[in-house]
């Protein structure tokens, strides 16, 4: 009996009427097919695969899976899973030399050489990071929402756990939204070989070193002349973030957002892998000392973003001013222009410009014979620099509302000399080399 029924269903042409009628209805009304599923949509999944590659330096692959579900009535869960793998070389902070340099690896396992004129890079960067986060948002009253979340990120030498909560309140017919949020995070840094002593000596020899330089025993023995001495196995820091926002609908086409943020970092903020070169009057490196940064950092920022609906696209521009008590002040302008091509594709050029001033304890090297400052770093990321990004994205609808998009960008950082005189041979070397990177990304949303 059941079989007969099924056979009828397939041989009889009647069942096609409903579908044909649905298609005809869509043609008549000019609407997309209605979701038969009802009010609650399935999970909305957004996946990305990104490649980031610097010339001769770091390259990274990062995958993101973002899953969102509306449980009805604006109760929304967002889960995010990120995995990234990093390989390649990263600047150590040491200056280039006109001769070959030999430096020990962070783990203490062996040494490597830096060619004359090259910025010393640590070639052992290999790390995989996994990050998981979840965010729940729901109405708190008719005019307000509460959103709370947690995240965990882990890599072999770093662990971070954080929670956040924010409250948004709608005013003036939802044309204005005020929000306030708080985020706390706790990070544990467990560098290979332990936490180095502030300004601790790192094994180094000018010229092609011999194998016994940086004798293995030294790395494990804190008493041994302080060479690569470690003060602890790990350290930690806490971060408290406050964020106040105002979103304002300007008119039918324009939307603006203003954010004010305050962030307090308390704890170990030094990069345990970064060093400073101690150079003599001729510009020759005598020693490498581990860097040392303050234990506290207070950052403030103001962020403004405007989105404007064009007849066939969206213009999006944002500006951020950030300032902190390390004196790193920055200006960032980010803009995207989405141009719809046909009914279901778009191209989107992207331009970003970034400029920052140097931290007050930044110096590209230390001078032999001068007394050590309280804090110092030669990490170019805390020096003066400008950077720009230029990119293009192409997106297209596939399979009934899924979106496939590609992004290709070029990112260049240009560190600058913030007014440091260069002794001797350093004058002939490029101490502030540009970093050039390519970003390639594929997204699929369904």
């Amino acid at each position: 009996m059941q079989l007969t029924k099924l056979t009828n269903l397939h041989t009889n042409k009647v069942p096609n009427i409903s579908a044909a009628l649905a298609a005809a209805t869509c043609a008549l009304l000019g609407t997309l097919p209605a979701q038969a599923a009802g009010p609650l949509e399935d999970w909305k999944i957004d996946t990305s695969l990104m490649y980031y590659g610097e010339t001769d330096r770091v390259s990274a692959i990062e995958t993101v899976i973002n899953a969102e579900k509306d449980f009805g009535d604006e109760h929304i869960f967002v889960g995010k899973f990120v995995v990234d793998a990093l390989t390649g070389a990263s600047a150590t902070g040491a200056v280039a030399q006109s001769t070959v340099q030999t430096v020990s690896r962070p783990s203490g396992a062996g040494t490597y050489q830096i060619a004359a004129g090259d910025t010393p890079l640590d070639d052992t960067f290999k790390d995989t990071r996994v990050q998981v986060s979840g965010q729940w948002t729901q109405p708190w009253s008719d005019n307000s929402r509460l959103s709370s979340g947690a995240q965990i990120s882990a890599e072999h030498d770093y662990f971070s756990a954080g929670i956040n909560s924010s409250y948004a309140y709608d005013l003036f017919n939802k044309n204005t939204t005020l929000s306030a949020g708080l985020a706390l995070s706790y990070d544990i840094i467990k560098p290979e070989g332990g936490i180095p002593l502030p300004f601790g000596l790192k094994s180094y020899s000018a010229g092609p070193g011999e194998d016994d330089v940086g004798d293995d025993d030294a790395y494990e023995n804190d008493d041994d002349d302080g060479i690569d001495a470690r003060r602890a196995d790990n350290d930690n820091k806490t971060t408290v973030d406050l964020l106040f926002g105002l979103t304002q609908v300007i008119n039918r086409r324009m939307l603006m957002q203003f954010n004010l943020g305050y962030s307090m970092v308390d704890g170990y903020s030094t990069d345990p892998y970064k060093v400073l070169s101690v150079v003599n009057g001729l510009g020759l490196t005598q020693q490498l000392l581990y860097e040392n940064r303050p234990d506290k950092r207070a950052k403030t920022f103001a962020f403004w973003q405007t989105k404007y609906a064009l007849n066939n696209g969206v213009a999006d521009i944002s500006y951020r001013y950030a300032s902190d008590d390390w004196d790193v002040n920055s200006h960032t302008i980010d803009s995207r222009l989405r141009i719809n091509v046909g009914d279901n594709s778009y191209i989107q050029p992207h331009l970003r410009y970034y400029q920052q001033s140097a931290a007050n304890f930044y110096q590209p090297f230390l001078i032999e014979g001068q007394s050590l400052p309280e804090f110092a770093t030669a990490d170019y990321r805390l020096g003066e620099m400008t950077a720009y990004t230029i990119g293009l994205k192409y997106g297209t609808q596939v399979n009934d509302g899924d979106e496939l998009s590609f992004r290709l960008e070029y990112y260049q950082q240009s560190p600058k000399n913030a007014g440091f005189a260069e002794p001797g041979s350093l004058q002939n070397l490029d101490l502030y080399p540009s970093i050039k990177a390519v970003i390639a990304q594929v997204n699929y949303r369904f």
């Binding site: 009647v14 009427i17 409903s18 009628l21 009304l29 097919p33 009010p39």
Partner: protein, 309 residues
Amino acid sequence: MSSLDSPKHYVIEQRNDHICGRFQAMASPCEILIDTQDLHLAEHLTALAYAEAKRIEYKYSRYIAGNPVDVINRSQGTPVGIDEETWRLLQFAQTCFELSDGMFDISSGVLRRAWRFDGSDKLPSAQLVAQLLPLVGWQKVRFDASSITLPTGMELDFGGIGKEYAVDCVAKLLTQNTVDTSVVVNFGGDIQVTQPRQHGQRWQIGIESLQGYQYIAKLLSIHSGGLATSGDARRYLLKDGVRYSHILNPKTGYPVRDAPRSITVAADHCVQAGLLATLALLQGAAAEDFLAKQHVKYWSFRHTDHHAQ
């Protein structure tokens, strides 16, 4: 805004958990239920709905001289220019004609000259029906995106889809005008809900429902989608114990035998639901069987009992 406001052809009524705007259009009581407490918004949406309903009524009613339908019906076999909206409606009618194997025919209205379903026992003469039959037949109509040629003597009547089409057009217009508010468009029982309400509530909508030989008001709980009813228990002829429904077979010129008296169908869109209900009625005794195979929710009312699925 002010031009829509005055003179007011609609009434706004603030109810417990929504606002209702009411007006008369297409010979039906029309109501717009809006899931809001914002009178300003409700007023705006009702005015828009009224204007759109009236626009479609004026354009496609066959009783208004000079409108596109009237011009086509009086074209005497000469081509008449049509606009894009009319082209879409004609294509839809074409699809329905094909899907129903010629049973749904918007040129069958001329048969009404013979049939007057007034509850009496006055059947038309077979001769009159035979005279009219050559004037029925959608396959004789030629049309393309810019013009239509209707043979002399034939007439088009959008009555079979006009109200449902208007409901969907109004629903679409209101959706564009209020992004996050649920609205019900109810034109005399042909209904479209634009989106689910806040807080998971369902709309409770009163429709006329048949019980025995009488209409009673019935409350319907609806979440989203469209709903339409075809059939009319008040329009029939009764002779020698045989009840003739007002659903006419365009091929024979006579009422369809053993059709349910009314059928209500739920579908994604009102116009879809309306067509399924009409196509089902045209199946006569097989109406419920037809709908069961379409996998749609329906309510069918026959003489005294009613079947629902």
